[in-house]
């Protein structure tokens, strides 16, 4: 059970059950769909940008607990961040879930993201955890309003 608890931590179960910022955003500047054809996880991420900042970020769609909690946690963390900060967090998160995050004094630095540290023990679930982040990243990188990503 301990392995499982390290994957399904309370924060993840909570964000899965009560996802934050879980709604369509009218007047979004970027609307990006992320889809994992293997398991059918499917989310849309809505971004409102002001200058270089993420003024508003929401999502809707559906999938497993890991992917949904990840999208929810991401949305609550990224609100108010600059693009550069968001991309840095993307890198941190990515390293965390593939088990390559080194040189941290403690998980505290990661805040809520630390809840995903157990994912690296479950290689089949890395894609679930990363889906929303990849989708967000392609939203930032694209100058098109609507993008699709797999």
């Amino acid at each position: 059970m301990s392995e499982l608890r390290s994957l399904y931590q309370e924060i993840i179960l909570d964000h899965n059950k009560n996802p934050r910022n879980f709604k369509k955003l009218e007047n979004a500047d970027r609307v990006v769909e992320g889809y994992n054809p293997l398991c059918g996880d499917h989310y849309t991420i809505y971004l409102k940008l002001k200058d270089d900042r993420i003024e508003e970020i929401t999502f809707d769609g559906g999938g497993c607990a890991i992917s949904k909690a990840s999208a929810s946690v991401m949305s609550s963390i990224l609100k108010g961040k600059t693009k550069a900060e968001a991309e840095e967090l993307f890198e941190t998160f990515h390293k965390l879930v593939i088990g390559e995050l080194k040189g941290l004094d403690s998980m505290d630095e990661l805040g809520k993201l630390a809840a995903f540290s157990g994912v690296s023990e479950f290689p089949a679930r890395v894609k679930c955890a990363s889906l929303a982040w990849h989708t967000m990243k392609s939203a930032l990188e694209s100058d098109k309003k609507v993008v699709s990503t797999e």
Partner: protein, 419 residues
């Protein structure tokens, strides 16, 4: 299973010596995450008995050679072994002749072969290809490609809420434009056994050719292609205790004979000049290039293994096991079984309130239980039932009641984690 058992359930479970069968499959004694493996992903691929593993090993140790071309000892031996397998397949499905048995890579290649040879020749603009709403992607996409190329139309027979084909709708769809009907014998996503004998007869009344995708039927049902009167029947060795990379396309002789070849190359020709090539006779016309000899021979060992089983006892056992599993799983609070046809084989697809199948799969895996989660290469089935995915347990002859109980306990654990 469709066979009605005259024996009381408990007797069947006792009469069939599953403990002995399990000893034939070495992988079943594996521990996964510290727990004895419970393998319930048989619809994806079955495990292999030791005799199949031995046959492949033995082939490479003492028979390896190319076939149909050498005069030396090894080549003749390998050729004979490989061709013996064709005879075993012919008997296994009761075909009239070994010339009707074409080896392919699997079900997928078998269907593609028919679509791109028979299909290309027989289907023209305005024609229709008829499939059902419960097909595997491999029995959808090849026909879509063909229809697009020819300006033909793919029509879909609807299914009801239990996951059964609606026969009235089938009869309405079968028309003068229909050129081929292509149907799963047993659905991999729902477990439904389709009434294909009746459906084949209905198609033949209109002069329409029928292909049966037998991938999920062949491990569980007694298949007699002459009794069914299907025009084509395809299946994969790996789902019936044989190796991956080998499959069978059965076709009626006259139809195969009139078909253009599939791939060009060695073995499929009688003579080649730059002006003209004369194709080989059946079945070789459809078998260009060096085939998967070793796995073909491994498949022969799987057929021998099946032949020494009491198939009636196996059928009754599997039927009882499926009934037991259905009862146990559907009795768990919050579980809903998707696919509740009257006639079913092997497959229990289910969803659990508030938990995505992917999470079910991960938690069961930690318990040593292997199931499949996702859309099972049948996305239209998921769309029909308005769900993103299911968790699927699929049974084989070596599964036990105790394993079903482990599955049920595993599902309880999922519920525990999420509540």
């Amino acid at each position: 299973m469709s066979t009605q058992s005259p024996i009381m359930p408990s007797e069947v479970l006792e009469r069939f010596d599953v403990a002995r069968i399990r000893k034939d499959f070495p992988i079943l004694s594996l521990n996964v995450h510290g727990k004895p493996l419970v393998y319930l992903d048989n619809a994806a691929t079955s495990q292999k008995p030791q005799c199949v593993i031995n046959a492949i090993n033995e082939y490479y140790r003492s028979e390896n050679s190319n076939i149909h071309r050498g005069v030396h000892y090894l080549s003749e031996k390998a050729t004979q072994e490989y061709e013996n397998v064709r005879t075993k397949v012919q008997r296994f499905i009761n075909a009239s002749s070994v010339k009707e048995i074409i080896f392919a890579r699997g079900t997928t290649e078998g269907i593609n072969l028919v679509a791109s040879t028979y299909g290309r020749k027989a289907i023209n603009a305005g024609d229709e290809v008829l499939i059902s709403a419960m097909e595997h992607h491999s029995n959808i996409v090849p026909w879509q490609i063909l229809c697009e190329e020819k300006g033909a139309t793919l029509r879909v027979i609807p299914i009801n809420d239990s996951g059964e084909i609606i026969l009235d709708e089938y009869q309405k769809l079968l028309g003068r434009k229909t050129k081929i009907v292509s149907l799963a014998h047993v659905s991999n996503a729902l477990g439904t056994i389709n009434p294909i004998k009746q459906m084949i007869a209905l198609a033949h009344q209109q002069g329409v050719i029928v292909l049966i995708d037998g991938a999920q039927a062949i491990p569980h049902l007694n298949v007699d292609v002459r009794e069914l009167d299907c025009d084509f029947y395809v299946f994969s060795a790996h789902k019936v205790y044989g190796p991956t990379g080998v499959g069978v396309l059965y076709g009626k002789y006259d139809i195969l004979d009139a078909m253009p070849p599939y791939q060009g190359g060695g073995d499929m020709i009688k003579s080649v000049t730059f002006e003209k090539t004369i194709y080989n006779d059946l079945p070789y016309k459809f078998e260009a290039g060096t085939p998967n000899i070793a796995d073909g021979i491994g498949f022969g060992a799987a057929l021998d293994y099946i032949a020494q089983l009491d198939w009636q006892a196996v059928s009754e056992y599997e039927h009882e096991l499926l009934q037991y599993a259905t009862e146990v799983i559907s009795g768990i609070d919050g579980v809903k079984i998707i696919g509740t046809a009257k006639e079913k084989a092997s497959v229990i697809s289910f969803v659990l309130d508030g938990v995505h199948p992917h999470d079910i799969g991960t938690i069961l895996d930690q318990e040593g239980i292997a199931i499949r989660t996702g859309h099972h290469c049948a996305q239209p089935v998921m769309q029909r039932f308005n769900i993103p995915a299911t968790a699927r347990a699929s049974l084989a002859l070596y599964n036990t009641k105790a394993e079903i109980e482990r599955l049920a306990a595993g599902i309880q654990k999922v519920i525990e984690v999420f509540h």
